[in-house]
């Protein structure tokens, strides 16, 4: 357990781009422990046993890395001097596959990137191709998309909360969140037959019309889950162990987030009020009333609070959407063979992890000439190094959890 930094802020050195160069940095960035041993080694008496740095591998088969992430930790005793991520263990060449598939054939592949938020992936992809085709989904399709995407955001945050709390040592939230996430997956299953890799949307609209009683079930879920979120918070928010393990751990400033391209709840917990849903609204988000929760300290605890508040905001959005789903067709008029005109387009959405973007180059054929996915997990993971410096090994687990990465999306 690390003692909180006295001023609660980051060392200014971390703002320097060269701060990422882990060979030239070292002991200077360690946190002032107030009584612990001094890492600047100006006082050799306080350095225990051996002053040599220790390099250890964490992963790729470590349960707390949430997949096949390998982190090479440079340690001074129990204290982290730097972390290097080795990724790519789950690389499947999604972008190359896209070049060899038609636009429609590629649609299910995007579900396999961020597999805990497959609906978001599909939404981003379908909207990007629609933009390239210069068509727009029908109003009804847009509402269904918003409902399913926000349900998926809650499911993603619930899975995050359960596993993150488990990493830190609280086992109960895992059972609570998985129990409640099940209700969302049941809705997905009833809607499209799949629970995880849903392939819920099609280019131009939705895959299926909603089933009979869909609205009722979603409303029932809303009343079911709202008190459950309070329950999670009752377990954790003022839990002393939870606070000790998360407050002032993995602090990152808003300026650092922007320089590192970090988006999503991590950026917002550092005090930057920015969300693609508000900044550049897509689907039907402009029609709903919701807020963007932000944090102040940019630590693991604030990121937890931001995600909890986001779940409540998602409930608000779903409630508004489900009460006024417009009638009409679920598919816009799109050609049977998707053949976008020559051109390039970038479109991004707010996935549960951050800004998920698709950059598509069309050469006028039925297949993308180039399809680039801008994965939020990949970009956010880059911040791990500066977030863990000066922490203890046990805190690394907390920080990996708090960034909320999905390796399927990091490696693609």
């Amino acid at each position: 357990m690390s003692a909180p930094a006295k001023d609660g802020t980051n060392n200014v050195e971390r703002l320097e781009p060269s701060g990422l160069d882990r060979d030239s940095t070292g002991r200077g960035v360690a946190r002032d422990e107030g009584g612990g041993h001094d890492l600047t080694s100006e006082n050799p008496d306080k350095t225990y046993l051996d002053s040599n740095e220790l390099i250890i591998n964490m992963g790729p088969q470590h349960p707390a890395t949430h997949g096949v992430l390998r982190v090479i930790l440079k340690l001074d005793g129990e204290r982290v001097l730097g972390a290097e991520c080795v990724i790519g263990y789950l690389h499947r060449g999604v972008e190359k596959i896209a070049e060899n598939r038609t636009y429609t054939m590629f649609n299910p592949y995007v579900d396999r990137m961020d597999y805990v938020a497959a609906v978001s992936n599909g939404l981003g992809y379908c909207e990007a191709v629609e933009k390239l085709l210069n068509v727009e989904a029908t109003p009804r399709a847009k509402y269904i998309r918003v409902i399913l995407t926000e349900l998926n955001r809650i499911a993603s945050h619930q899975l995050w909360l359960g596993t993150h709390a488990l990493d830190i040592g609280a086992m109960t939230p895992l059972f609570y969140t998985f129990r409640d996430r099940e209700e969302i997956l049941k809705i997905f299953e009833k809607y499209c037959g799949a629970r995880l890799t849903t392939h819920a949307f099609r280019i131009g609209g939705c895959q299926y019309e909603t089933y009979a009683g869909f609205e009722k079930e979603v409303q029932k879920f809303l009343t079911f889950v709202a008190p459950k979120i309070d329950e999670y918070e009752a377990l954790l928010t003022s839990n002393r162990i939870w606070m000790e393990r998360t407050k002032n751990v993995g602090v990152i400033s808003g300026a650092d987030c922007i320089a590192l391209g970090v988006t999503g709840p991590v950026l917002r917990a550092s005090g930057v009020r920015w969300d693609v849903r508000k900044a550049q609204p897509y689907a039907a988000y402009a029609e709903f009333d919701f807020e963007i929760p932000i944090g102040t300290n940019g630590d693991t605890y604030d990121r937890y609070l931001v995600r909890m508040a986001e779940m409540r905001q998602s409930l608000r959005i779903i409630e508004q959407a489900v009460n006024r789903i417009p009638e009409g067709p679920i598919m816009a008029k799109v050609p049977k063979v998707i053949k976008p005109p020559v051109g390039e387009i970038y479109h991004s959405i707010e996935s549960p992890k951050g800004e998920l973007g698709y950059f598509i180059v069309s050469d006028g054929s039925t297949q993308p000439y180039r399809l680039r996915v801008r994965p939020p997990s990949f970009v956010n993971l880059q911040a791990l190094d500066i977030m863990v410096r000066g922490l203890l090994v046990a805190d690394v687990v907390a920080v990996i959890g708090t960034i909320d990465i999905v390796l399927g999306e990091v490696d693609r």
Binding site: L20, G93, E99, I258, L260, F359, G364, Y369, R370, R374
Partner: protein, 218 residues
């Protein structure tokens, strides 16, 4: 399935499987800059005026830089999305100006596109966003195979991994990058997979069978 449609496949495609891009009946209008490399001798279809076309981007910012740099820079807009085409000599200056003077403080993505038939084979693309202006802009430049381009890590730290991925997938060198090495693929990997002349069967033979001793089923 040996469905290597757009890349010049090391193996001929199976009998009877027609390459859709080479189908003369449905030949798409020959794009000015993006001819599919594998399509052999595409008949010069009459250019259909299909879909939207890039328009000039009227913007005081573009005006200002055009006055400064002349024709080395061009601002265009396609479907409401703006982009700057910039000569590669100007790249570090323009990127720095965009961040410092124009507040494009968030580098969303860096990527590349390969056009093997062009003299300058690669498009390098920076996707930028400005929180203050709530505006996106793309910066594209063309570079030749083997040429290098100044790294933008000193402008946006996020460029570190993004440039490594571009190097990993396309083999584009970024001068001044602190640690330019492969990021997603293993260190011993041969070739750069997102180049158009890299067939998907190649990776099966070059790496999967040698290192893992399995048939990948491709």
């Amino acid at each position: 399935m040996a469905e290597d449609i757009k890349t010049p496949a090391p193996l001929p495609p199976p009998e009877g499987e027609k390459k859709p891009t080479a189908d003369a009946a449905t030949a798409p209008p020959v794009p000015t800059k993006a001819a599919a490399p594998a399509a052999p001798a595409k008949p010069a279809a009459p250019a259909k005026p299909s879909g939207p076309v890039p328009l000039p981007w009227p913007s005081p910012m573009v005006e200002k830089y055009r006055n400064q740099y002349g024709s080395a820079l061009e601002g265009q807009s396609y479907l409401g999305q703006n982009y700057l085409s910039v000569k590669n000599e100007l790249i570090p200056n323009i990127l720095r100006l965009l961040r410092d003077a124009e507040q494009f403080d968030y580098c969303v993505d860096i990527t590349a596109v390969h056009y093997p038939q062009r003299e300058k084979q690669f498009d390098v693309v920076w996707i930028l966003y400005s929180f203050a202006r709530n505006e996106r802009v793309r910066v594209t430049t063309q570079i030749a195979d083997g040429a290098s381009i100044p790294s933008s890590v000193s402008i946006w730290t996020t460029a570190n991994w993004l440039e490594r991925e571009v190097y990993d997938m396309f083999g584009i060198q970024f001068d001044g990058h602190p640690d330019l090495k492969r990021i997603l693929l293993p260190d011993g990997w041969k070739g750069f997979p997102l180049r158009k002349d890299y067939g998907i069967l190649q990776q099966d033979k070059e790496w999967v069978q040698i290192n893992l001793g399995i048939e990948s089923g491709q």
